[in-house]
Symmetry: none
Subunit: 117 residues, 4 copies
Amino acid sequence: MNINIDYQARIPIYYQIVNKIESFVTKEIMKPGDQIPSIRDLAYTLGINPNTVKKAYDLLEQKGIIISKSTKGTFIANNVERAKKEKIDNLVKDIKNNIEELKNYGLTWKEILEEIK
Amino acid sequence: MNINIDYQARIPIYYQIVNKIESFVTKEIMKPGDQIPSIRDLAYTLGINPNTVKKAYDLLEQKGIIISKSTKGTFIANNVERAKKEKIDNLVKDIKNNIEELKNYGLTWKEILEEIK
Amino acid sequence: MNINIDYQARIPIYYQIVNKIESFVTKEIMKPGDQIPSIRDLAYTLGINPNTVKKAYDLLEQKGIIISKSTKGTFIANNVERAKKEKIDNLVKDIKNNIEELKNYGLTWKEILEEIK
Amino acid sequence: MNINIDYQARIPIYYQIVNKIESFVTKEIMKPGDQIPSIRDLAYTLGINPNTVKKAYDLLEQKGIIISKSTKGTFIANNVERAKKEKIDNLVKDIKNNIEELKNYGLTWKEILEEIK
DNA sequence: GTGGTCTAGACCACG
DNA sequence: GTGGTCTAGACCACG
């Protein structure tokens, strides 16, 4: 698992981990049933505290993206399709919002299309 | 000045104020030379701490969007065009990033266009 | 807020806090908008670590029962009715399960009714 | 012996085994004198560690529900009646507690009866 | 070795 | 003073 942490960013470390693993799953780099690194392993690899990884895993579990099995390890859950759809929907929604904003600035759909192509 | 503060948001209150005033200016709801409310007034209207408004005004002045004239009050500056261009550029850049992401999820340009139209 | 922690119980401390506050809300001892003790205050009162209280508050927020407003404090949310309905539904479901079990042991509905009256 | 292990549950695996075998006995699916699977066999069948099954059998023996005869194997004990009574009493007690809770929420005995019938 | 809980305490931004 | 993040590290049950 190749995760780069940006320690300057306003985004908390635990949240950067959540985003990364989420994208591994939605991009199908990791698939349902796959085991992910143990809390200790990932903490050691990233040079951070196990509690921080735990917090990330907790949030991912709450989102239904991973499942923790005590003493067994942590695994990718089956909700991948839902997670993927959610992610795409959010990206599309963001784009729409931005386009709406641009229109408020007087840009036409044609001009916007020109810019983003 | 109609500003809604979201106290749950991760975005600091002072920054929400900056964003709002910035958009008033870029959308030309407010124009160069217009006077904006005093720190005390706005703080009272929004029911928040004057220090918070002060912090927002400081940042806006530093960005060159407003100018405070000691005993006279605070006014919209002339850099509007630059501010506007910056805002538009950011919106376009965001859209491009999201489109790139969507392509990573296997969507074609045609499909993306279909979604956002 | 009168919360008794049972340190011997298998139920984690943070979860006992969740249950207690949840019941305060569902029993309308606390109402939407009410401020609850700050993390530090409650931790001090209960003689436990602030992180443990934080964990409880996080879970309660995730459940939609409380809302944390940074620098303002923590407040009861508006979902009380839903929370209450959920709690009642769970209690009723538990009872039904137990009755079903008792029938497996050969008890009739009459006998069960006799026992629980 | 049909036992389903829930690896997500907070209830330890060994305890899930205890509960299941206990219910086999109290529901008289298994009767005094019946032989139960060897530790190795059950561990293999469930795909779990023999130590876990051992722990479950130890607890069951301590409770007087099974008896292991060194070279002969493990058998259901005669205390079935006591075990059964205990189980029923617990179920009834749970129901009573839940009913008490429901009354705290303002439901009358009539309403509760309506719900659980 | 694995995840789960908890303590003790630091530091931060915000207001 | 408030909540949010993070470290360091201990201890636990389970397997």
